[in-house]
Symmetry: C2
């Protein structure tokens, strides 16, 4: 099955905004067994949009467009595509009422121009927009030439907070109904930290090979400091193959696997803390709050996250966390001893069951021969346990350094709290 | 001039990684007057890559590819494109030496296979890779049909930390030399916070119109809680028009403009603090460290950022920041009084010249009729000034809420420290 995504918007080509649709739609579709075969971005001109849609409809089974369905003068997708496909536009009263009540609920005056969004091409399926005004649209087309079944065109609104819930609740079920897969698709992603793709291949490929010969598709995706192991395939026998493969992988690398599916490491940690009825605090130096940000990014984190200290300066390490002056003097701020005292200090200051600490050199300045840029100590203190600290080296740019460091810090805690179960 | 970008990589279409090349290259090129006219993502198959490159070379003046230049089996861009264009590959000893020393410097064993990256198509220009092993390549092509000047094909490595410095130092100057603009391009972006696009249009369009009639291109880009005002144009008269337009806009909205060019609000604030010789601390509740993360994301921040407190719980607000129990009881944690006491407490605890505080309801839970989800108070305390606090309402998702809140908090400080100059 050929599926093409066309993102419209000159601001994407000017680089003013990041195109997150490609990643989100690509992942959402592929997790359901539908693989994007091509993606394209075109400017907001009638000519570019129509040509791209026309060419794509000539070769694909499903063409998805994003953007250009709003009420302003550069929102031309609906009107121009309908014109190109010779589908007259009709006023849809239900959509008009939705738009009117959308403005009324927000007590905002409604410009007459927004009702253009209630125009629907003849025969189109309408996807209601729960978070905005422009509905999504789907049209089955005929006569595009190659004699196969006619392609579908799906047009989605541009804002992610409108598009995403629409796709999840309405568009994906619609695609599964209208374009069913030849064989049921099954997929499981194991998320790991601390192992490399080649380690898995080196140690397991001979044992995984027979499963792959039976139809299991094994894929890897390296993210910053992480590797996702993707086990997929089509057909009724695949769930059994996935189970076997997962058992093999967990047998060898179980402790490195922090979750399955779309979970982040922060989510796994916060949910485990909630389940354990335990609390957490942080003491951050070089990450400057990024660890706390990740924990508090998970809805419900307030049940387990008490807070913490950003002890960027040595003075604050002493004053707020009780790190001893002589420890700083003897070992320096980036050291095992200071990481442990920071974690213990954060527990003492907050009364949390666990505390994570981070102290390192993010760069670009501040490094030395003994402690080069990228050196970082991660500490962990827990009630009734001896504190521990591990050393890592991440000679990356500041942003990547922080991201990898935060993930590894959370992983340190995960191994402790999941072990406790 | 037609410029097309082709991103290769099945992992992009599977949504396993975010395509940041489009945004970064789009912005970098357009700031130099080169506008991407189309972007496409294709899978790692020889057929898809060759077809996309061939079609693009048939209509564009410059085609840029990313990815597929590495040493592994799915890195096929160089070999297959060279084959398609009938350019034999030659071993380049200088590149081979660079690769060998790259491994030697890192004391890592070098697999023989990596030397495939030293293969260069006949006549190609080589861009050295300072941060990796695969060089970039440029080829001028002939005979692609339309009679105009022959197009250029530029092939870049996939990893952003290799691609970006290569583009800035080598590729952009190369493009400017080989594909000069008909008239010099000038561009200035004013970054604003607190005003809407329509406010600028409503109040200034009649006065800006004469400048636009003379060739000034006025564009807006709304980011979360911010609007970038872009003043651009081609020709020698444009710098004068940009100056006039900037003066008009600053005359009306000067205090909302925090910077020009690629500066972030955090960068402006940190640089101003460095210039003023002042220090900053934070007291964060609902942002959970994201404010500190933004400040410490700026290289050199350690000169001005002392640290702070993540006072997620009320207990920590009292214990570490000295917020009074009766203030919390009388006004609640999300209140003007608590925001001010948090900021004052952070100054007292750290000795910083300024302290920013944030207390709010990020949601999805925790809202009430009186204080709905999205309510947030931003506080600021400074040496020798009375503390202040302002109320905002951001009924967005958790991530957007945090981003807008952090930006506005930094903006609060910017207005104070820039006013002091």
């Amino acid at each position: 099955m050929e599926i093409e995504l066309i993102n419209t918007g000159s601001e994407l080509l000017l680089g003013r905004v990041l195109n997150t649709h490609q990643q989100w739609l690509g992942e959402t579709l592929s997790d359901a067994g539908y693989i994007l075969t091509r993606q394209e971005t075109v400017p907001d001109t009638a000519e570019a949009i129509c040509e791209a849609v026309k060419v794509a409809l000539g070769r694909a089974d499903l063409v998805i467009t994003t953007g250009g369905l709003g009420p302003t003068s550069d929102d031309i997708t609906r009107e121009r595509i309908a014109g190109m496909l010779a589908k007259p536009l009709h006023h849809d009263e239900a959509i008009a009422e939705h738009i009117t009540s959308f403005f009324a609920r927000r007590a905002r005056p409604m410009p007459e121009s927004v009702l253009v969004q209630a125009q629907v091409p003849e025969g189109a399926v309408v996807f209601s927009n729960e978070h905005g005004t422009a509905p999504g649209l789907a049209m089955e087309l005929s006569g595009t030439g190659d004699g196969g079944s006619p392609p579908w065109l799906v047009m989605l609104p541009g804002p992610p907070r409108e598009l995403r819930p629409m796709v999840e609740a309405q568009v994906l079920p619609f695609i599964q109904r209208e374009l069913p897969l030849a064989a049921a698709f099954h997929c499981r992603t194991l998320r790991s930290m601390g192992i490399g793709e080649s380690m898995v291949e080196d140690q397991l490929l001979t044992r995984l090979r027979p499963l792959m010969d039976q139809g299991l598709d094994l894929g890897f995706c390296a993210r910053t400091g992480q590797v996702d192991i993707r086990l997929c395939g089509h057909g009724d026998g695949v769930p059994g193959l996935i189970d076997e493969a997962e058992a093999l992988i967990r047998g060898e690398f179980g402790k490195y696997i922090y979750g399955t599916g779309g979970e982040s490491i922060a989510q796994v940690v916060v949910e485990q803390l909630i389940e354990n009825g335990e609390t957490i605090a942080v003491a951050e130096s070089c990450t400057g709050g990024f660890l706390g940000h990740h924990i508090t990014g998970i809805p419900g984190a307030s049940a387990v996250f008490l807070g913490g200290v950003l002890s960027y300066s040595n003075e604050l390490k002493q004053k707020l966390l009780g790190v001893r002056g002589e420890t700083l003097e003897q070992h320096g701020a980036v050291s095992k001893a200071v990481a442990m005292e920071m974690a213990e200090g954060a527990r003492a200051a907050t009364g949390a069951d666990h505390a994570l600490s981070v102290t390192g050199i993010a760069g670009p300045g501040g490094g030395s021969t003994e402690k080069p840029v990228g050196t970082v100590w991660l500490g962990l203190a827990s009630a009734g346990e001896r504190p521990l600290a591990v050393k890592k080296h991440h000679p990356y740019n500041r942003e990547t350094f922080k991201q990898v460091t935060v993930n590894q810090s959370l992983e340190l805690l995960r191994r402790r709290i999941q072990r406790e179960r």
